[in-house]
Symmetry: C2
Subunit: 320 residues, 2 copies
């Protein structure tokens, strides 16, 4: 079968003809229809993700068919029994070191499967698992978001940021976004956000506070030098959740932290229990993932280049 | 009466003869026997503390006599009804803008007073309020410390750090410390700490992890460039509490934060409820505050210079 394989760091991924693994009593074979890209895949190709190994099929997100049952794949591998925290010895994310979803088929334990939400296409369903789960845990378990609170999503356009935006709106929160592009802020407002700020403006938090007031929750994956602006946009006792740090070391401002008694939480994807709850939430609120572009598996290099350019608004999909 | 007065930023404090305020039905007059210095007083003299005003008696900590009752003073001013979070509109700390404790007498509402723990001298009792309360909230409310956990106190020697060390040991935790001076680490070990590290060693967390393993709680008031080393010394799901940031902006490491799902909490002194609980804890465990040096009120300039030099191990006291 055809599969997109990680061979070594800083080399192109290879679309290879690989042997179909033989199944056993514990596993089932899912025929994949779509997969989605995540920043994690990009870190892996650069060799910048811990614990990765060569010659593994990439991809954490997938949707497909198990016989005539349409399914989506839970990207968790051995999270462990405690929904509060992953087991640090066993937990990984599908797509390395475990074979991933950018292939024609995949062998899985049946407990990794959930029914595809009926209101979603295969491409939309493939967009959901990793990013939806990450947004769900960050908002609801870590930030303990309540209806009526104000949420700031930093860097709208990425998959997790968009799910966080849609989930928070569905949960009754007022959502604000930041971006380097006014166009993305406008698109977020079209989705239901109340407003936004260009983080490229120096000390943007000052104008933000004047226009919108402070926020109770911040969802961030950038960190970096601008972190203090996020903290300044916070109300007292606000919660900031980081599920990434694409801009590197955060310039964390101690007086904001202690005078306002802020709380900062690290969050890494989510548990099996949260995956089930997230899919139920998406079904209940009929949330439609935002798709930026659909590529074919053959166009994988274009898809990864598009992700690296960072211009997307929504998920980047590989149709299989 | 004699009182130490803040006149303006970056000018020496003035030991002045000021009028004794007339009392009313709501207040009582306490004759002060001892006061303690805090970093807050130093920030105030530099004009670097928010909301300060001129011509106010400095000092947050005091012990003295109300008639023949020996008392200590709760440094909270209008924390508000919610023990979880201070009321941001009303909450201040005694010593500016409200008159402080570095004076011969002070007028107070009786609800600001607690009985002096019988096992403490006046100097020891004056050392307790602000620093003890800050350490108590940071350890028990914010970090939710449990017996058997490992606690790292960054920068041992300051008042809060020493109370955090003593309280955590009394609560059944294993305590580790950092310092720039081996002598201070040795003194902490004499108090019951299990070990320590010199934070002046580059990447000290590596040797620390090898020797002692990771920690579950970090108590810090430095922040600054070395923050990442504290995060690297953490076990998964550890809690870091900051009640200060003497080294400025923290270089916060996102991968440590999200892969280990760390939690960072800002903490500012503590509530009235926590003050009562802290004094009870000190009585129960017969904790003796560590005193570095006792000065007279006339020697205030020497006392403040000693604090600014940062060489102390324990509280600096003014005998009145």
């Amino acid at each position: 079968m055809k599969a997109l394989v990680f061979r070594e760091a800083n080399a192109p991924l290879e679309l290879s003809e690989i042997e179909v693994q033989t199944t056993d009593a514990a596993h089932v074979r899912v025929t994949l229809k779509a997969a989605a890209l995540n920043h994690r895949d990009v870190w892996i190709t650069k060799g910048l993700y811990p614990g990765i190994v060569p010659d593994v099929v990439v991809g954490s997100d997938g949707a497909g068919m198990l016989g005539d049952r349409a399914v989506i794949i839970n990207p968790n591998v051995d999270w462990g029994p405690d929904s509060d925290y992953p087991n640090q010895k066993t937990y990984t994310i599908r797509g390395n070191p475990t074979h991933g979803t950018m292939a024609e088929t995949i062998l899985l334990h049946p407990d990794r499967l959930a029914d595809k939400p009926a209101h979603l296409s295969m491409a939309e369903a493939a967009a959901l698992p990793l990013a939806g789960l990450t947004a769900y845990r960050a908002l609801f378990r870590k930030a303990r978001l309540r209806a009526g609170e104000k949420v700031l999503i930093n860097g709208i356009g990425g998959g997790v940021a968009l799910f966080a935006c849609q989930f928070a709106i569905a949960a009754g929160a007022d959502v604000y976004v930041t971006s380097s592009a006014q166009e993305k802020i406008d698109k977020a407002i079209a989705l239901g956000a109340k407003g936004g700020a260009l983080y490229t403006e120096e000390r943007w938090s000052k104008a933000f506070l004047k226009q919108f007031g402070g926020v109770d929750v911040v969802i961030d994956s950038a960190a970096g030098k601008g972190y203090g602006q996020l903290m300044r946009a916070c109300n007292p006792r606000a919660r900031i959740v980081n599920y990434g740090g694409t801009r590197g070391t955060a310039a964390m401002d101690p007086p904001s932290l202690f005078f306002k008694e802020l709380e900062i939480y690290g969050s890494t994807m989510g548990s099996d229990e949260e995956f089930t709850a997230m899919v139920a939430f998406v079904n209940e609120h009929k949330i439609k993932p935002v798709i930026d572009t659909v590529f074919t598996l053959d166009q994988h290099a274009d898809a990864f280049a598009h992700m690296a350019a960072g211009k997307q608004f929504g998920k980047i999909i590989l149709k299989i």
